[in-house]
Point group: C2
Chain length 729, copies 2
């Protein structure tokens, strides 16, 4: 295997010698230039490709400063104010950070602001209120006493979110960076010219690393008694792409106006987890086409100059949608994203189309790590690195990235020589995985799994916890699956309504809280949807896995609309007089043949009870079903309250999948009896890789696909390749 290539290093001014050493040690073949760093003079001698960072929407601050009316905009909602008299004054910026936002007082406030009575849901007539620009206050007259009022208002974003975040978190200083809106005609033209000038000034650049594209994901701050904190964060929010121009173009195209409330949606801001309105879906599509058109111009210029175009899959990525309809049309050559787990790895490596995929691993070479704890030089950077790599590695075996990279300051990295040594190991390990896994198909489970939700393909490898403030990042079912030998797809309710369950899908998973875009809310009242899935399972033997509050919509006596398929339902407060069927766990079941630890279950939904005698409870918490299996005609279904990502739970999920797919007899093919070790075979290559995902030495028995077995001992955290013939002698 090659010991060089597929790794990108950050450059740091004055570290030329160091760079050469580390590059050689790690086998790096590219460097990444970013804001505030300069390329070493000898870069070409080192044989390193150069990736140079360019943020189109914030690079030319001179232009931004003189075109403040062409900064990005967004709708915000004021704090709700309870009317304690007939006149209500609402300071609209209260609760928001005035260094991030400035209310738009250029455009007509009576058109772009809305006052809502949140006690009735009624729009307050514009004649009934006025806005004072000076005090940024809306005064409502003839208010109804003790009704609650809010103001939807349009604001300019006057401080770029990433810039602001780094100022506030990493103590950056200097002038606030302003985010330009590339849709604005003058700015749009200027940026093309600016890009050409920038390329001319950076002749050593091989790859223009757009960091990133047009519109930032949403991260709205507030000033809470001096503490600047994020108040609303949606990594997938279509907010920063707003402007009066965009709204006017939208209305012209769609024939109806998108009103502030269509985005504000009672203050939920069209949260990713909320059921989206038709209008919001239109808006998303509209923005995606705009972003495609803008970025294509940039890519064309880049290509004309003989450079490659790479996109950073974070920050200003909104509207680019790697899983969307228009992504390929932008013509990007490469994409890079930060990556701390298997779900994030698959989110990039599963992107359709020919595009080079790089992931930036953790830790950054910063004084503190992603959790805010000491890292370089006083922390445990090797431990930190392994913690994330442990999750990423297993997903790499499934679908490898083309490249890996690191970020931060090399001068910090070298303070810990054992870290430099460890990354050499990791880089070799990655290159070995890539060499095989990018060239050969591995053996997989004899079924394909599809997640079913409102978003489908568009939100591949994303789950409901992505924006959750209250849960530390951990990942659940999707994280387990990211490293399993299973084909995974993502389909939407509309896909099923249009064409039925795809013919190549054997298992559907519906996961999430009731009334979210994941679980599906009112979709489950759609008779066409429920009958299609019932038929597919009952007659065609389809497998269904429901997690949390699957198929949930309170209607006609059931909370879980597919109670008959799942064999369970959930009591939500007003059916307590009904006695559920007994929930005594079954003694023996294929799904339970390995150790199961209910402590690793999460999102427990209280009140889940048995509705069908055919259902077998596998795990319960007194009267509350945690795990149950049901048969349904030719089909099978499993209900699961929720899983966090652990070795035991991954095994449990694996058994659930094989049982639901009725492929129990095929489980023990390329199978490790010890769940801490995962086994993937590449039959074409005659190779098997074993991963010890634990920090201890593990012993296991591995089965090949013909019933042969081999006992293996694998050192702590080791991945090891075997020739199949040798292993199963």
């Amino acid at each position: 295997m090659k010991s060089k290539g597929r790794i990108t290093l950050p450059v740091e001014k004055g570290m030329d010698h160091l760079l050469a050493d580390i590059a050689q040690k790690w086998g790096a073949d590219a460097v990444r230039n970013s804001d505030g760093t300069e390329l070493p003079a000898n870069i070409k001698e080192l044989g390193l490709e150069v990736y140079s960072t360019l943020s189109m929407t914030r690079n030319d601050q001179a232009w931004a400063k003189t075109h403040e009316h062409e900064l990005t905009q967004k709708f915000l909602m004021s704090d709700p104010v309870t009317a304690t008299s007939g006149t209500v004054k609402i300071e609209i910026m209260k609760g928001w950070f005035d260094q991030q936002f400035r209310p738009d007082d250029i455009h007509d406030v009576k058109k772009w602001f809305e006052v809502y009575d949140r006690t009735t849901g009624e729009l307050v007539p514009v004649a009934q209120w006025d806005y004072d620009k000076q005090s940024r206050t809306v005064t409502i007259r003839n208010a109804k006493k003790f009704h609650v009022y809010t103001v939807n208002f349009l604001a300019y974003q006057i401080w770029d979110t990433t810039s602001m975040y780094n100022y506030l978190t990493n103590n950056w200083t200097g002038e606030h960076v302003r985010p330009m809106d590339p849709r604005q005609p003058e700015t749009r033209r200027h940026l093309l010219q600016h890009l050409q000038e920038w390329i001319d000034k950076n002749p050593a650049t091989d790859v223009v690393r757009f960091t990133s594209l047009c519109y930032h994901f949403t991260n709205n701050f507030q000033d809470l008694n001096g503490e600047k904190r994020s108040r609303y964060r949606d990594w997938l929010g279509y907010h920063d792409c707003t402007s009066v121009l965009a709204l006017e173009e939208f209305e012209k195209e769609y024939g109806y106006p998108l009103r502030p409330e269509d985005i504000v949606t009672e203050g939920y801001m069209s949260d990713l987890n909320r059921m989206p309105s038709r209008k919001y879906l239109d808006w998303m599509d509209f923005i995606q086409r705009s972003v495609r058109d803008i970025v294509k111009e940039w890519v064309d210029i880049t290509h004309r100059n003989g450079k490659k175009a790479m996109m950073f899959y974070c920050d200003h990525w909104i509207g680019s949608e790697p899983y969307g309809k228009y992504f390929a049309e932008m013509g990007l050559d490469a994409i890079v994203n930060p990556c701390g787990c298997g779900m994030e790895l698959r989110r990039i490596t599963d992107i359709p189309g020919k595009i080079e995929k790089e992931v930036r691993l953790y830790p950054y070479f910063f004084p503190v790590n992603a959790e805010g704890k000491p890292n370089f030089p006083d922390g445990d950077p090797v431990g930190d690195c392994k913690k994330y790599w442990r999750r990423v590695r297993r997903a790499m075996v499934q679908n490898p990235a083309d490249r890996i990279g690191f970020g931060g300051y090399l001068s910090l990295a070298v303070t810990r020589p054992e870290f430099i040594d460890y990354v050499k190991e990791l880089a070799d390990e990655f290159r070995q995985i890539h060499a095989v896994a990018s060239q050969h198909k591995h053996s997989k489970a004899p079924f394909k799994v599809a997640f079913l939700n409102v978003w489908g393909k568009l939100r591949s490898w994303i789950d409901e916890d992505i924006n959750d403030w209250t849960k530390p990042y951990q990942g659940g079912i999707i994280e387990c699956l990211s490293g399993m030998n299973v084909d995974v797809d993502f389909i939407s309710f509309d896909d099923v309504l249009k064409s039925g369950v795809p013919g190549d899908v054997q298992i559907l998973i519906n996961l999430g809280d009731a009334n979210t875009s994941w679980s599906g809310g009112e979709y489950w009242k759609n008779e066409q949807l429920v009958t299609a899935i019932r038929k597919w399972s009952y007659e065609d033997g389809g497998g269904f896995i429901g997690i949390g509050e699957p198929t949930a919509f309170p209607f006609q006596g059931h909370h879980f609309q597919l109670f008959d398929l799942l064999g369970v339902d959930r009591e939500i407060g007003y059916g307590k007089s009904r006695a559920p069927l007994p929930s005594t766990p079954t003694d023996k079941h294929f799904i339970m043949e390995d150790a199961v630890c209910a402590d690793g279950f999460k999102n427990r939904k209280n009140g889940v009870f048995v509705t069908k005698e055919s259902a077998r409870v596998l795990l319960s918490d007194r009267e509350n079903v945690l795990l149950a299996a049901n048969t349904y005609g030719k089909g099978r279904a499993v209900y699961l309250t929720g899983l966090s990502f652990t070795a035991e739970n991954t095994r449990l999920l694996q058994r659930i999948l094989y049982w639901v797919a009725q492929k129990e007899s095929e489980l023990k093919k390329w199978f490790s009896t010890n769940p801490n070790i995962e086994c993937t075979a590449f039959p074409d290559a005659g190779k098997v890789i074993l991963l010890n995902n634990s920090y201890e030495e593990q012993r296991t028995v591995i089965y090949d696909d013909r019933g042969k077995s081999a006992e293996v001992v694998l050192g702590a955290f080791i991945s090891k390749w075997y020739d199949t013939g040798e292993l199963f002698r």
Copy 2:
């Protein structure tokens, strides 16, 4: 204090001598005759009043057998059946116990049965289905494949619920007892005659103990593979009062028909916890007036014969509604109920009007106790007795019953002499409490608390857990309050909508799961309701306590509609992008000055977060608020996730009440520093009673209402009376 009276004993055949001994020891002044027991010959010599049990609806089984078309009826719903072809056959009795129910095939099934498509919620036209009496099967033609169907059907109840329960639980044998419907004209007339004959045959009877009145509460059984089990149990369900006659009379009076689905309500059977429809409320009122008319005839006959009429407040109590509009009009002299806790005690002793109130204490003199564990002769009857008396006693101090009683077999009671001795103590303790508490007012908190829900007064001293199968009986807030020196009332949303919050109420409590009749569901969309409560708190200083999911209805961006008053709201899945305000608990607060143990919190509602900076979090579980206090204009509010009944929680609730009412400075009046001891003063009588509610000796400091204090040591489980002057010397 008197050492005799106010206690009723059960008689047992052949136990004449024993009866005299025990009666004397306990100071009993009455005996109770019940099914299968005979009065001793010397009963009058013993000076004991005689209560004789009569069950009007089941006493004359000869009549019942020849009038099977006049047995009680009810609507049932079949199990839901998924159509797997165009023809669906539903065995309507599947899932029900065929010894309890017989489908009504006397009346027109096309009128009294309904077939529902539960996938669409549509009624299936009668032309599309047929019913076969023989096989008790509905066949639906042209069914939509993979839709779910149910049948609402009318059935006769052919086995009286109490009789059935005792057969199945206590191994009774003999012929099944049939429940007659006293509304049926022939039966109604016959019962009057039967009552007169019965009185004539029971000359020794002083009090006719109607056990009980017309219609049983709902307890529908199923035969689950041989196991006969309760499948639907609503202690407050208006089901057994159904008949074609009643339905026809109802339609005539109200001008619209009550359809099966109006009762069945998607299978929820108009569960007490469900938001009731207008039609169901009409039905309840209709039945109450019928029961009043029927029972009044019985009471009149009883009175004409010189006897008193007593009602057993359980079993066939439906429609009598001691807190309803018509109860007093029946003219009953006395009421008796089983009583295992403070909530049950207050449920009887707070009944308005002049009526003698007796409670039957636990344990019954049965071989097994209420939990199915050994009792007499091999269990711990004294411990069992104390366990319940511990809860009942403190409520007795608040509002005493007039009498206590026991049930079961005396021959079993005497197997445990220490039990006989303990009940003597208990009886004396009760008589002492009664002597003072029935004659004198005790000092109370300077505020009145009202529970606010759909039911108001009608469901006094009842909470959402009364029918819950999944929770062992424990009681929460209401149980705590049943023994506190606080005036408690129960009001409905309609009361507030009609007349505002009553002038004498200083604190409102709204408690329950979202969308239940307790929390209030869609009522919280009513602007009149929310503004009335906001105004009452903000301008008049009213206190509001929200427990569980108070004021909950997802609307206009909030789940808790009174989020501004409570200072908290609950995230239910699609607002996770919003960062809540910090939930760091406050260091010091009046409410938290005594020990608080979050382990005793129940019904935890995940996702409760702070919405107002004015709110102070008192207790949180990571990001989840368990207890918070807010100020709101002149008013205050507290949010609480839920409490189980413990001494610490009772103290916590007491502090919450005083804080919300802004009467902190008055807390330490007739106050015990040790929460295990409760203190109630009767100033007119110059007396104070201290209750040690624990099983250990306790030491405390007691405060009077002028700041004087006294240190007291009280033996385990002791209640003790003091002369105020002596205690605070």
